[in-house]
């Protein structure tokens, strides 16, 4: 990391505008040409009491994860912020409101908890907001303006972002927010700042004009759109809702259709119905929704209907931790449902990966005639990274099955073939008329419960998917760092891989011989790439955000090789230091401890 690398953390109560302030900050920084990675934590409550934290890391080079220690910490609610003051580094800044509404007991104000080596900055955000807007609700903008003023960031870059953010509202809304921002800016700029946090301008030539601040969800939407989807059906659920909301806005513009159905059961049903009818159709949900959908997912497998389901995981089981991240739906995605219902599961590791996986999922779904799940998680859904979208759509256009010209006999929708892929037809096509069902069926699609048939059909549905691991244009697994024999290998998936990379590089700098591999395709598993990695590593560590070591079990069980598990279910992303400590321990230790 060279030059500017500053992580801001904004902490407040839901309703304080914490997330909104972080949003404006990161969009502005990206537009200026910085690389940004950001993540928001917010509660299940609507307003009033829950804690929100927006962390924004601004750097010259793209970072892989958020820093454990923020450089600048802004409190919009001291009760929530006090437990987090410790995350600010020495000589980092703690910014807070110094005019509470009523007297408070000792220790209730954040300034009581600032460490001697941290730098306190207080300003009366509430009063300033009250003064310039008539109420205290714009105090988040005042505080953001204060940060911008304090660190000398360009005022007009923020104005542009604010203008865009409130473009759909009345002009007065933008004006009020700009006024609040400016009042805060003036206050911040007039403060004497010490030079411990420096926001050096982005390098000359850094062009933010094409860079976009995208969340995993945003990139997923962009991927779906670039794959030219026709239909989307959804039902609101955290943290997937924003995919649907964005599509609600953007999809109709391209002649596509977004429908909010009455439930997930209905959403996946409609998606499969549309897929059957030849459309590129998708739905998006989270673990609980996926659980509801598994019955319908089984129908998709057995009836060999293409569909794409985006699943953003959150803490579970059941309603669990709706606003916390976790990687515990791997088993549900890979195995969930009644019967043997293998489907394709992709797990991107960063925001750009979300884009690629969402798009390429349709190629796979259509080619292999099966449901495809893109498995992300809340941390990836909601975390922002700077992305430069490709200028040309990188995905293959929709494969229209052509059943026309088939001369004689009934259409064998499920004909046995060498690669297991049967001819397909869609309603409206001449000569392809057939019936599909959720019952086990024969080549024609008619119900058939003979033992031999079920055996053959089960193998067909399984074996046809193996070729997916070599699908062109898709990175199903990739090794990072040192090549050849290493002491410690780290195998990871999904959002956690950013932290794994940072930890791996840190360990390498400490002289530990190590290497990392990301597994993007979880089902079917790309054994041909993972096996050589195991051969090169003395010991393999699998860090993941679930309690049961779901990937560890999957890989270990598939390959029959031992791994060391590192499981965390705190609701928060895994910390780089945690992984690094484990790498150190393994590098020192003689052999695997708790092999799966």
């Amino acid at each position: 990391m060279t030059g500017t690398d500053v992580q801001f953390a904004i902490c407040g109560s839901a309703g304080d505008g914490t997330i909104a302030a972080g949003d404006i900050l990161k969009r502005t920084m990206a537009a200026m040409g910085y690389k940004v990675i950001a993540f928001d934590i917010y509660p299940a409550e609507i307003r009033g009491f829950g804690k929100c934290i927006s962390r924004v890391r601004v750097s010259i080079e793209q970072a892989y994860s958020l820093k454990r220690r923020s450089d600048v910490f802004l409190s919009l609610n001291d009760a929530h912020a006090i437990p987090h003051v410790g995350e600010v580094r020495d000589f980092g800044a703690v910014v807070y409101d110094d005019a509470p509404i009523a007297t408070i007991p000792e220790g209730a104000h954040i300034s009581a908890h600032i460490r001697p080596a941290q730098l306190p900055y207080g300003a009366s955000f509430r009063q300033i907001s009250d003064k310039v807007t008539g109420n205290a609700r714009a105090r988040n903008l005042v505080a953001l303006g204060y940060l911008a003023g304090l660190y000398g960031m360009p005022r007009d870059a923020f104005h542009k972002t604010i203008g865009r953010k409130f473009a759909t509202k009345a002009a007065s809304v933008t004006q009020v927010n700009v006024r609040a921002f400016d009042a805060g800016y003036d206050a911040g700029a007039s403060v004497f700042k010490l030079d411990d946090v420096v926001m050096a301008p982005p390098p000359v030539g850094a062009d933010g004009s094409r860079a976009q601040m995208m969340t995993g969800n945003g990139a997923t939407v962009r991927g779906l759109l670039d794959a030219d989807i026709d239909c989307f059906f959804g039902y609101p659920i955290t943290p997937a809702t924003s995919i649907m909301e964005r599509l609600a806005t953007d999809l109709p513009k391209r002649g596509g259709r977004m429908l909010q159905t009455e439930d997930e059961i209905s959403a996946i049903a409609a998606t499969i119905g549309a897929g059957y009818a030849g459309a590129r159709a998708a739905t998006a949900t989270s673990g609980p929704g996926l659980a509801l959908m598994t019955e319908m997912m089984g129908l998709g497998v057995i009836a060999e209907v293409p569909s794409v389901t985006i699943v953003s995981q959150r803490g579970g089981p059941s309603t669990g931790l709706p606003t916390k991240t976790e990687q515990s739906d791997l088993n549900l995605a890979v195995y969930g449902g009644s019967g043997d219902a293998q489907r394709i599961v992709l797990a991107p590791t960063n925001v750009e990966g979300c884009y690629r996986c969402a798009g390429i999922a349709f190629e796979l779904a259509e080619k292999f005639q099966t449901p495809v799940i893109v498995l992300i998680d809340l941390y990836l859904s909601n975390r922002y990274e700077t992305v430069i979208p490709p200028e040309v759509k990188p995905f293959a256009p929709k494969a229209i099955p052509d059943a026309a010209g088939r001369s004689s006999g009934p259409f064998k929708r499920f004909a046995f073939t060498d690669d297991g892929l049967s001819p397909r037809a869609i309603p409206g096509q001449n000569g392809g008329v057939h019936t599909i069902t959720g019952l086990e069926h024969n080549e024609l699609g008619r119900p058939a419960d003979q033992a031999d048939n079920h055996q053959r059909m089960s193998r067909k549905r399984h074996d046809k998917l193996l070729a997916a691991t070599r699908h062109p244009g898709l990175t199903v697994a990739k090794r990072f760092g040192r090549t050849g024999k290493v002491d410690v290998g780290i195998l990871g998936w999904g959002s956690t891989f950013g932290e794994i990379l940072e930890a791996m590089y840190a360990a390498e700098r400490e002289g530990i011989s190590c290497s990392a591999m990301k597994v993007v395709m979880l089902s079917p598993l790309p054994v041909h790439l993972i096996e050589p990695f195991f051969d090169d590593c003395r010991i393999v560590l699998v860090p993941e955000l679930n309690h049961e070591g779901q990937l560890a079990h999957l890989v270990s069980g598939t390959l029959g090789r031992p791994v060391v598990r590192l499981d965390r279910v705190t609701g928060a992303p895994m910390e780089v230091d945690t992984i690094l400590a484990e790498i150190r321990r393994l590098a020192l230790g003689p052999a695997a401890g708790n092999a799966a």
Binding site: A248, Q260, E262
Partner: protein, 290 residues
Amino acid sequence: MNEPLKPVYLDEKLVEIRADGHQDYRSKALPTWCPGCGYFSMAEGFTQSLKRLGREPEDVVVVSGIGCASRFPFFINAYGFHTLHGRTLPVATGVKQANDALTVVAVGGDGDAFAIGGGHIPHAARRNVDITYMVFDNGIYGLTKGQTSPTSVLGFTTPTTPYANGDEPLNPLMMLLAAKASWVGQAYAGNPHHLTDMMAEAIAHRGFSYLHILSPCVTFDKTTRTYKNLGMMVRDLPADHDRRNLMAAMAEATKVDRPALGVFYEEERPTLADVMDGIAERARKGIAAE
């Protein structure tokens, strides 16, 4: 417009306020609804009506689904069950089946009731389970931050209906009347006294009682279903309305632009428990259905 109010010694009420006792039906925790939310009115009405009916907290079970309204049991001092989205009525039916002596109240919002849970309503109604179903209808999804609900008005613009809602809103009263709910009433969050009267009557009714409560969402709907708009729209049922006349109730229920407050329909017929008792009785006597 606010009219001047007659000055009174409100302080006197403050002195005696604790003697009221309806606070005993509240939990200790403060509701987390947004300030100004109409659901506060319902919590207030509910505790007042339990007090009025003399039901002991331990004899009351409140069952809910998912949503802002379904937070309700958390703020009530009674047995509560916060179940899954839309699955309120099956759970409540199970509770009532297990113990007829309980006062069982199912609560939910309009999304929980008429979207995911819509399939359950007709069945709970026609079986005449002796429970009270109170739907807090603010015409929006509050907990997921402002999407349309089945009762959102035509043209309502939300994140999921950026080009305006084109789905005809559902008429819950018609739906419930059609499903043969044996007590159907309507109240309004901005009229807390009437709301309390309605709740008390609904809970006292023997059979499946459905109370529809109109409320604004002060956070995500600042344009359509506001206190101001609702306040101007609502009216009383005509003084001569015959609550035994289903057609008259239907006729009043169709007047959606001027929602009426009061009891639309009421009938007495065997409850699910009665039917179960009847089946049990016939079974004991060895009478098989033909």
